[in-house]
Symmetry: C2
Subunit: 418 residues, 2 copies
């Protein structure tokens, strides 16, 4: 079978299975998730053995240490994967939820019912645990899943897929409800994202290059996660202690995550009270600061920021710092240079807090909290399939609800339209 035929075969099977899982009871879906967890625990040694083959191959190909670290599955990692499946089983089932049922003058009752999207395609890179996570989220939300992992993790992913299939079979659900592609050929992705008849949405999880390629080629909707150029704005009316705590945490708690602050904006009125204090904390932790002229005048160790710095997601111990002339300037800077991911204001002023919440057009907007909270677990979604920086459909962390849609339902008693 050539690759195109193979992907179509997978797509057709997914479409058929999607109807069964959409109609499956909560009990059957949860039973499958628990059975998958049991299979993964029971298969721990084989999973680690398969993973070792991937890791050795990766070493022989000279992959870097960070990549190998993400790829490696330990006994602890296997247990975490099983627990992740059980956590999804414990989440409320979003499918079938009826809301906003209202009686209309015609006599009919009109409301909305939450329903699965259908078939979800997920394209991801090294981490093999995504295979179990994504399978669980798609199944619980009543969708069929087509998973395409990275080529470095092929053996690990196939071993996890076997546990997932076994769990589905034990619960009496179709095995093709979750299919892990057996090829990691680039061509396969091209076909997968261009089959609207079989795939309803694509979630790419990986680097910017992958996401841009998929957005370009896709003929189905894509839940995109592009840059995270996140800002903290310390307002003139900020509580300085909160401001220092939040600006420290937002930058230094982890450097490589998408919700890490990349630019700090400070109202000129409080800059002398807050910037030297913060600069000392950052320098002690080895963070390089790049600032505007006013910031450099206050703290001479700050390097000059270029225009490019304001638009850069460092994902590193580097922070750009700009003094601004009040809330409007701060919002204008965020609008111009931000990536609509996560932005926070630190202020005790009620009106400015509300204006920031409303006018900053980002997927997460915060008052007096660290940008690092922008995360499915922290938001109480239980798990996340990705973070969307789009405006259409879901914004920000996407959990079970983001993998569903709402249809209209009408409950009548013989009404006709006149």
């Amino acid at each position: 079978m050539n690759i195109k035929d193979y992907i179509e075969h997978v797509g057709r099977a997914a479409r058929a299975a999607s109807r069964e899982v959409a109609a499956a009871s909560t009990a059957a879906k949860n039973a499958a998730l628990h059975a998958m967890a049991a299979e993964i625990r029971a298969g721990r040694d084989e999973l680690i053995k398969a993973n070792l083959r991937d890791v050795e191959q990766a070493r022989s190909e000279g992959l870097d240490a960070a990549m190998i670290d993400r790829l490696t599955l330990t006994a602890k990692g296997v247990e975490a994967m099983a627990q992740g499946l059980e956590q999804v089983a414990a989440l409320p089932d979003p499918v079938g939820e009826i809301t906003e049922l209202k009686r209309r003058p015609s006599g009919i009752q009109v409301g909305k019912m939450r329903v699965p999207l259908g078939v979800v395609g997920i394209i991801y890179e090294a981490r093999p645990n995504v295979t179990a996570d994504a399978a669980a989220l798609c199944l619980k939300s009543g969708n069929a899943a087509i998973l395409r992992g990275g080529k470095e993790a092929l053996a690990s992913n196939q071993a996890i897929a076997a546990c997932v299939r076994e769990g589905l079979a034990i619960a009496g659900l179709p095995e093709s409800a979750v299919q892990v592609l057996e090829t990691t050929d680039r061509e396969a992705v091209g076909h997968l994202v261009a089959m609207p008849q079989f795939v309803d949405v694509i979630v790419p999880r990986g680097g910017k290059g992958l996401i841009e390629r998929i957005s370009r080629e896709a003929r189905v909707p894509v839940i995109k996660h592009l840059d995270g150029i996140c800002h903290v704005y310390i307002d003139a009316d900020a509580d300085i202690d909160k401001a220092v705590r939040i600006a420290d945490n937002a930058k230094t708690q982890r450097y490589g995550t998408c919700n890490t602050m990349e630019t700090l904006l400070i109202d000129q009125a409080v800059a002398t009270r807050v910037l030297p204090r913060l600069a000392k904390i950052y320098f002690d932790k080895g963070v390089e600061l790049r600032g505007c002229e006013q910031a450099m005048a206050l703290v001479p160790q700050i390097h000059a920021a270029s225009e490019e710095d304001w638009a850069t997601e460092y994902l590193a111990p580097i922070l750009s710092v700009r003094l601004v002339d009040g809330l409007d300037s701060a919002i204008a800077h965020i609008t111009k240079y931000g990536s609509q991911h996560t932005d926070a204001i630190v202020t005790e002023n009620y009106s400015k807090a509300l204006r920031f919440l409303r006018e900053v057009d980002s997927s997460s907007v915060m008052v007096n909290a660290s940008t690092r909270f922008a995360d499915g677990f922290e938001y109480g979604l239980g798990a996340e399939i990705g973070i969307s920086t789009d405006k259409f459909h879901a914004r920000g962390p996407v959990g079970l609800e983001g993998l569903t849609s709402q249809k209209w339902i009408v409950l009548g008693n013989g009404e006709i339209r006149s």
Copy 2:
């Protein structure tokens, strides 16, 4: 200026205006809508004069009577347009609505805020009243709009646009919040749908050819409305009087609308009681019936249906009729031949009603009501910008809420992530 530069110029102005209308108060938006209505009423004679130019041009080009009817603006039509604007002003403002605010173990409160999509592009055909309707819905939902009407209605649309601009100016809102393209060149549409930096969503309102072309060329999300192959299934446990009333209304109340029934499915167990009665009603109203062999055996005047009939949206006094072997067969038929638009079951059986509601994957699913109710006004949306047959984002009639998205908001008190 060439067409590409012109469309980019319009797009840039729309993006800038979108920030202002997103932040505009409900009072300012409503003032603009009332001012537009007043301008339209005051400009009635000029509107009708401009429309007459379009109509004369259309006649000289030999457009058919139905097209000219849709194009023509009467004094009554002008008043209806003004009232439509006032009705949108009376709808609740969806922007800024905060829901689901919950406190998390970390101390932060997490919730969702409803926000505009940004810039909405609407591409439509003959009816000039769409210009006012679309402007109103986009403005009220806090979006900037770029409207591209049909070439037949160019003079009418420009005259309406002048009233809309004047209304915006009176309320102190930017005139480029609603821009009606001054060209109807096909090339303009190609550019409009491929500018993700300036346009957030495209709503095509028109024939299938237009929608398919736009879906193919678009680089931004499209709220698509494809076929309406709607079904009524009369179950074995149906109340026969309700069934006859609904099946009559769903087909014959209007033939040319997308929510009109195109295929009637009847459980074999009740076919003798319901089909001859219905056939008489249909024949009296001049509806041609095309059926399966069993249907033909019951009512000899029924013609044979071909495989193609089951997948046809007639938009005409033709109905296909099939006898089925219970609920599963009915759902299987709808899944195979339907267009996921609107489908209804007539039954008094509780479990079958719930199964139909859940398992039929259409944007509107009904129990004991006519498919003709699938409409923004009947659903209480106040107005609709279109009907979506997609699953992503909004399904079914799209009102103000479908032109918005939800972002996450976090209300903290100095919390940091540990």
